[in-house]
């Protein structure tokens, strides 16, 4: 920090102006380039508090279709904000090209600089370079798609009435988490976008034809064998299955199912990279602004305000603190990236033992590689170091229903490191968080009932909402729907059905 202050510092007054924003932006961009941050073009939008709450409510979609749930979220946000229970995020950033970041009008100049470094260079470069985002989302077309979706749904409301559309959307939202192909990667989106769209249309037409077939008695579809199950293999993408196979859905409903599915897929990588994404962004706002400070471009006053906010963001309350609400992804991510840098630059013997590949390597290369090639789960299992486990004082608790106590299975000591790392990593494994439900049979030649199977993980039962969700599924499928779970003998037991057994109708 004792470098000679060769530069005249930028104005650090609290009030920002567009002129000042541009000056800071230019400096931040210069430093970001210096650290090889590769970003989409930035589009920085200054918005008001209300607009920020609106962005919150639409779960980060810059253009959202109309639905009551967004209204509810807006009201919730507004309520908690007005009561001072919650501060608004300083920024929201959209994974699109150009990358849209929202800055709140109320932020002070140092905050705006922090936000720009954080969102416009941190998140932005993450969106552009992380493998999940590269394979799953298409930053170039998302805005167009959302625009299309909004218009399409508005048109549907006009044609078929708000209630109809709302019911369909409700049903889709209930199944939104089951609208993603988890294992089968989508086709290279950016590669042949136009072609794909065309193909979608074809598929869509085809599905219409399929539906037609199915509604004919004794359908010749898949004729070979009557006893064959349909689908041939269990399908985990329930929404996709519905879109293509639900017998009585109208074409506009299929399109709505598709829209929800697409949006769900768009957010799928974000769910899996929260720690990394936030950690990466925090690491870079911290590093970039400190770099500017070392160059003498920002003042002490600026740094104090910045550090104050930064510290708040990356604080990790302890398990028994009233503020504790799980592990703070900002804290974990930021500390992990800082730790990786430390391991590269000043490795200890322990680090050399645990991380022989990266100890002493070029930190910037290593960091970029880590950011590009992992998701939370693999990132933690790859890079969580014993030192960090000690710093966080992590401990592992096993909560087994069969026992009447909780057991501390591992703590931050030599024997515990591996176990804690594995457990923390699996805590971010989406398949441990989201339930595994698959379509196993649609009785195409019989009563058209749909059967799904729940496969429990670690004997965790399905939550109470299952009946409600099945009602929504029934709304889309329009014939009997039932959910089964294998019992101890491996025999499928029905755990939920719609319509429920006593009110079975034809």
């Amino acid at each position: 920090m004792t470098q000679e202050k060769r530069n005249r510092p930028l104005d650090d007054c609290a009030d920002w102006t567009f002129n000042l924003l541009e000056q800071y932006q230019a400096e931040i961009e210069r430093v970001a380039k210096h650290y090889r941050l590769d970003t989409y073009t930035n589009q920085i939008e200054v918005i008001t508090t209300e607009q920020m709450m609106d962005a919150y409510a639409s779960v980060g979609m810059p253009i959202g279709y109309n639905h009551w749930t967004f209204g509810k979220k807006f009201i919730q946000t507004e309520q908690t904000y007005k009561r001072g229970r919650m501060g608004l995020a300083y920024e929201i950033v959209i994974n699109s090209n150009p990358c849209i970041s929202y800055l709140m009008e109320e932020n002070t100049m140092p905050m705006q600089a922090l936000v720009m470094a954080h969102a416009c260079y941190g998140h932005n470069s993450f969106f552009k370079n992380n493998y999940l985002f590269k394979t799953w989302t298409d930053a170039d077309s998302i805005i167009d798609y959302l625009l299309f979706a909004k218009k399409y749904i508005a048109d549907c409301e006009h044609k078929y009435g708000i209630d109809e559309v709302e019911a369909t959307l409700d049903a889709c939202h209930a199944l939104m988490n089951h609208g993603v192909d988890r294992y089968k990667r989508p086709q290279k989106l950016s590669l042949d976008e136009e072609l794909k769209r065309q193909k979608d249309r074809e598929e869509y037409m085809q599905s219409q034809v399929n539906t037609l077939w199915r509604t004919l008695p004794k359908s010749p579809d898949k004729t070979n064998d009557k006893s064959i199950t349909f689908p041939a293999e269990p399908q985990e993408n329930i929404l996709y299955f519905i879109e293509k196979n639900a017998p009585l859905l109208k074409s506009w409903q299929r399109e709505i199912v598709r829209i929800v599915r697409k949006i769900s897929q768009y957010f799928y990588p974000q769910k899996q990279t929260q720690v990394m994404n936030e950690g990466w962004a925090c690491f870079w706002h911290y590093t970039i602004l400190n770099h500017l400070y070392d160059e003498g471009l920002v003042t002490n006053k600026f740094m104090l305000e910045f550090l104050h906010n930064h510290t708040n963001v990356v604080a990790q309350p302890e398990y028994n603190s009233p503020y504790y609400s799980g592990i703070n992804p900002y804290a974990l991510g930021f500390n992990m990236f800082m730790d990786i840098r430390r391991i590269c630059e000043n490795p200890t013997d322990e680090d050399r033992e645990w991380f022989p590949e990266i100890a002493g390597s070029n930190w910037l290369d290593t960091l970029h590689f880590a950011m590009e090639s992992f998701k939370d789960e693999s990132f933690i299992s790859q890079y969580l170091s014993p030192k960090l486990i000690r710093d966080f004082k992590l401990f592992h608790i096993n909560d087994n229903e069969d026992k009447n106590y909780l057991e501390v299975a591992a703590i931050h000591n030599e024997q515990g490191y591996q176990k804690i790392r594995t457990m923390l990593s699996s805590q971010y494994n989406l398949s441990n968080l989201e339930v595994n439900i698959q379509v196993i049979n649609a009785d195409i030649n019989g009563d058209r009932s749909l059967t799904l199977r729940y496969i429990p993980q670690n004997n965790v039962p399905l939550g109470d909402s299952k009946n409600e969700v099945l009602k929504h599924l029934h709304h889309l499928w329009q014939f009997d729907v039932k959910l089964v779970q294998a019992d101890d003998q491996g025999k499928d037991m029905v755990i939920a059905a719609c319509p429920s057994f006593k009110e079975q109708n034809d």
Partner: protein
């Protein structure tokens, strides 16, 4: 590599549509919450919106999630006392300290109610939605007419004090120009001829003399056009314009005898609130007069009106008399729109009921815009009701309804005003 865009100016209320969708979807719950809230309000408190409470479970959007139980593992930060192998009691209430990220929110949904506020406008709209108020406003609230003198341009006659000098002089100039135009044109021609002749070498004395004579005559004619004429005068015109008064007084009459319990009063209170809110949409200033009665009537404040208990018999006419007296003393019918709302459980001293009908017919109804009577009772109607039925037959602006429970309020209120609509139309 960055573009700045100032979005602050566009799209306020971008989420308004979604908010409306939300209100639309939860209308029934919101209405329920509203009718709970109405009890806590003062009658005249309409300036604020309302807090709406909806049970959270009604709002939740279901999705498949893990339930409680099974074999779970959690990693937590900040170990201060544990070592491997420690056994600890399971925290009560299952959710306890919550788990890692996703888990806590999955199963640990709190059962707090969802509370939010709606604006005054939304509040009123929801409250009066069934009443189709806009129509009602136009059609049935025939208000008292007051006249106001306003300037309405100019007219040709009036009293001298109203002469508008500028307009009059403008008229004068115009008239003079119009009346002398052709003479001036002639004059100009003659003068030109004269100069021509004068410059001529040939002697034209007789012609010049003649010309001079003509010019003189013309000039005299021009001069004779009067500077101002009665025709020019313009007077400021005033006209009387009908202005509906924006003042109204609402009389709340209530029986507070022993037979009226608090529940009955609450029903009555809601009715008054509705009426008051209804009136606020039409009138700027509203006075509310609370008259309570048992055997004697008394003017009281709101608090006492609703919440103090009295015992004794019931003489309803005392309240009507007091109302008539107050109207005479304070609310002159030419200035005030008078509304009355009477609530009772139907009990009245039998001999008094005819007197009530008489009072209404002769004194109160002629002076009132509207008078409504609601009877809140589970029992059979008594004399007062029968008397009032007679009154209602002969008076269009008198309405009466029977209310059994809180649920009846909206329909009855709606009913009361609907009836009037059809009659007024």
């Amino acid at each position: 590599m960055a573009n700045f865009i100032d979005r602050r100016l566009n799209g306020k209320n971008k989420s308004m549509v979604n908010r409306q969708r939300f209100l639309r979807r939860y209308k029934s719950q919101i209405k329920k919450s509203l009718s709970d809230a109405i009890n806590k309000r003062g009658v005249t408190d309409v300036s604020s919106g309302e807090n709406i409470i909806i049970p959270k479970k009604d709002l939740s959007e279901p999705f498949f999630h893990q339930g409680d139980g099974g074999n779970r593992n959690r990693v937590l930060p900040g170990n201060d006392q544990f070592t491997t192998g420690d056994h600890l009691p399971r925290p009560k209430g299952q959710q306890g300290q919550g788990g890692g990220e996703g888990e806590a929110s999955d199963s640990g949904e709190g059962d707090d109610d969802f509370v939010f506020s709606i604006s005054k406008e939304e509040y009123l709209n929801l409250l009066f939605e069934d009443l189709e108020l806009p129509n009602l406003e136009k059609k049935q609230l025939d208000k008292l007419i007051e006249y106001k003198t306003v300037r309405t341009g100019y007219c040709a006659d009036g009293v001298p004090s109203n002469i508008d000098i500028v307009k009059s002089l403008q008229g004068s100039i115009a008239r003079r120009i119009a009346m002398t135009a052709c003479k001036r044109r002639e004059l100009k021609k003659l003068k030109e001829r004269l100069t021509q002749l004068e410059q001529d070498n040939v002697d034209n004395i007789s012609e010049i003399k003649d010309l001079n004579k003509q010019i003189k005559a013309l000039e005299i004619k021009i001069a004779k056009v009067p500077f101002i004429d009665t025709f020019d005068l313009r007077f400021r015109n005033y006209a009387k314009q009908a202005v509906p008064t924006s003042k109204a007084v609402m009389f709340c009459l209530m029986d507070v005898s022993g037979s009226m319990d608090q529940a009955t009063k609450d029903i009555a209170k809601r009715f008054y609130i509705l009426l008051y809110l209804f009136l606020t949409r039409t009138y700027k200033a509203i006075d509310v007069v609370y008259i309570r009665h048992h055997t004697q009537a008394k003017e009281v404040d709101e608090q006492e009106f609703f919440y103090s208990q009295e015992t004794g018999g019931t003489i309803a006419s005392s309240a009507l008399e007091l109302m008539a007296k107050i109207i005479d003393e304070r609310y002159h019918t030419s200035d005030w729109n008078i509304y009355g709302a009477q609530a009772s459980d139907g009990d009245n001293w039998a001999d008094d009921s005819p007197r009530c009908g008489e009072l209404l017919n002769n004194k109160i109804l002629p002076q009132s815009r509207y008078f409504s009577y609601i009877e809140i009772t589970q029992r059979a109607h008594q004399t007062l009701w029968h008397q009032y039925t007679k009154v209602a037959e002969s008076n269009a602006h008198f309405a009466m309804r029977h209310i059994k429970s809180v649920d009846d309020i909206y329909p009855v209120f709606r009913d009361l005003f609907k009836k009037n609509t059809s009659q007024a139309a």
